[in-house]
Amino acid sequence: MAIEVYTPTARRRVDRLDAIWTERPGLLGWLTTVNHKRIGLLFFFTSLAFFAAGGVEALLIRTQLAGPGLGVVSPSVFNQLFTVHGVTMIFLFVIPMGIGAFGNYLLPLMIGARDLAFPRLNMLSYWFFLASGCFIYAGLLMGDGPDQGWFSYVPLADREFSPGLGVDFYALGLIFNSMSTTATATNLIVTTFKARAPGMSLNRMPLFCYAQLAVSFVLVFALPALTVDLVFLELDRRLGFQFFEPANGGSTLLWQHLFWIFGHPEVYAIILPAMGIATSIIPAFAQRKMIAFPLVALAELLVGFIGFGVWAHHMFAVGMPTVTAIFFAGATLMVVIPSTIQIFAWTTTVAMGTPVFATPLLFIGGFIALFVTGGLSGIMFAAIPFDQAVTDTYFVVAHFHFIIFGAAVFPLLGGMYFWFPKVTGRMYNEPLGKASFWLAFLGTWLTFFPMHIVGLLGMTRRVYTYQPGLGWDAYNLAETIGSYLLAAGLVLIAVNLCLSLVRGPIAGPNPWHAPTLDWATPSPPPEFNFPVIPRVRSAYPMWDADDRLDDRRRLEDGELLFDAGHQMPATTVRDADLDEILKLPTESASPLLVALPVTLVFVMLLTSHYIGAGLCGALALVALAGWHSREPQAA
């Protein structure tokens, strides 16, 4: 039951909110927007563009490997393709799609807020994301892209063995990208703690928001390790520091430790938004509450936490002391516990409910199948001798694609279908949706499952080509066919959603009878989200019909409207008691004005114009000083 407008009084109140919150139209409006939904859409389309680029790179890689001795691309281009493909999918697609697009758009709606806690910081994080992505791709387009693999091990990445600018595009681009991700994560954390609707105590918060909270914490605490590592790398490469030079007291393994202290939690950061989407879709299509809600919430947080204690299982082959390796093997086994809790909760909820296997739920079913398969191959790596035997083979590639593509991306695709009616106001085409699922699902299995076998047969990852007669040919051909099948499934999703945008039937506010507050708004939601801030008494507020009727009454009575400007209530951290009325900042060019000189700082650093970089940094500080030249409370 959405908060709908039935009377002239209610209409007047909503019109007033419309006048207050509506941003300027056109391109200028998009450049200066601070609205979380618009920024979410910007993240969505930008990360989708990077996904397309990463997909084309994947297809080129697979085409090159379709048969032995092929020369579709040159070895140098091949190295750049697999490096940029990895960087793109992790840093420019899955993470920004998970928190930048889905988190940005949906989290405030789910907790009953009008925007994020820091709207201008939100836009700044988008500009940083866009600029860092373009920065990384500039290298590839100039033919000097990163070519040392996504984890960029030293000494290969040192100046001596990688003399071009490729590694610098990678290192500086990722430092820049980290700034964006950290800003988004900070915003989501503070919003989750401080902007929940009155009554939405922590135990009533949607599981999607727990997942977003967990991923945000993971990113805030994991990304500094990557930043430190990349700064060390740049200092070594550009200024002759000795961090990774064993002959002068440095250590090459220092790179690996720092990288994986970041890298493994990052895997969970990739999958946590997917888990959050699964916990949104399953109750809606099973039409029942999630089984073991508190355990699932705890499991989402635990996945993030335990992820910090397993990094060295990526390094079993480097010759660590046995006791260290055993500790990390044990910690790796522990991750199974929270993951399994969630799998049981998801499957039992579906089994105990009255499931409707529409496209979004099919994608979640696919996700669970792929996650279990990837998890089973993942747990094998805790067996140290096995790990040492298959390290750097295609078995590893198979495992992490089941997780990073299958488990992380399938829920994103399901989520696109699920929230398409909310975002656009129209329904998608169901038969086409199901066809796209089966194409993508079968394509995923055909692409990645044979990689286990060729890995066990000895095919190492990142090889440009291979000799015939090694027993790898048929598997590789099957993988390549699978990749095109998968691509066809993804294209079909895009076609379906584009056609439905124009021709789809009108959706209404809550076509799925879903339980969370995002479905309380009209479809698409207005700029202020909620005409009255909803009151919440359970974790399934849309199934509390009395409360939603009460929203209509309060709209009529003018209660909890907050319509004296860009207002939003702040609530207490644990119990979400109404605490303060915030005046949020309005649309502004400041984020763009800060982002431009910061981008130039990175360009100057890349081209070794250090004084220029300093000047641009100073310019950014000046722009930052003008950020709130007019204070929000005085606006």
Binding site: P224, F232, F241
Partner: protein
């Protein structure tokens, strides 16, 4: 009507800006955790420390300096408390004292950093590289804190609003964190000679 009144009664929980700063400093603390971890990782793999016969730093001066910097947490907290009580003058005075001490600390540290550079280069070995990076990162955070303090001070000279109070409380938290970080960084740097 003042901005305080416009925004309603004084809230019970801390402002969003403070929470945002808490998350930021938590991330920065992790960054220093990684730097210090790297310091000890390189050190544990080294037969001699500091490497290359570099003389360890003297203990007394850095301890006095870091104690002086740590004392500014008191003034920052006083400024914040005065702001909460809406005593703008007292807040400005306490902030000014903190800024003077912090600036003195920074000036001395920059001088010391340059003197170190004359003695040994970050290119010399792993110790020199991590020494300058760790110290440089800490000094950069102090410099950022000075800029933040100066900005808040300028704002407060125009009167106290809720926005400025929130900024003051967030910057106070930042300085508490930077002071603790500086304490740990100094202890790390001095540890070979302890």
């Amino acid at each position: 009507m003042t901005s305080f009144e416009a925004a309603g009664a004084r809230p019970r929980s801390l402002p969003n800006g403070w929470w945002g700063m808490l998350v930021f400093v938590a991330g920065e603390a992790t960054l220093f955790g990684c730097l210090i971890g790297s310091y000890f990782y390189v050190r544990l793999q080294s037969v001699h420390w500091p490497q290359g016969g570099i003389e360890p730093k003297g203990v007394l001066v850095p301890i006095v300096l870091v104690a002086a910097l740590a004392s500014t947490s008191i003034f920052m907290q006083l400024a914040s408390a005065a702001g909460v009580r809406e005593h703008a003058g007292a807040a400005v005075a306490a902030l000014l004292v903190a800024l003077v001490v912090q600036s003195g600390y920074f000036a001395f540290e920059v001088h010391d950093f340059r003197a170190d550079l004359a003695a040994f280069s970050p290119h010399d070995n792993g110790y020199a590289s991590i020494y300058y990076t760790l110290l440089g990162a800490d000094h950069a955070h102090v410099a950022l804190g000075l800029l933040l303090n100066a900005w808040v001070l300028l704002r407060l000279l125009g009167g106290l609003t809720r926005y400025r109070l929130n900024a003051l409380r967030a910057v106070t938290l930042y300085w508490h964190a930077v002071n603790v970080i500086t304490l740990v960084v100094t202890a790390t740097i001095l540890s070979p000679s302890a």
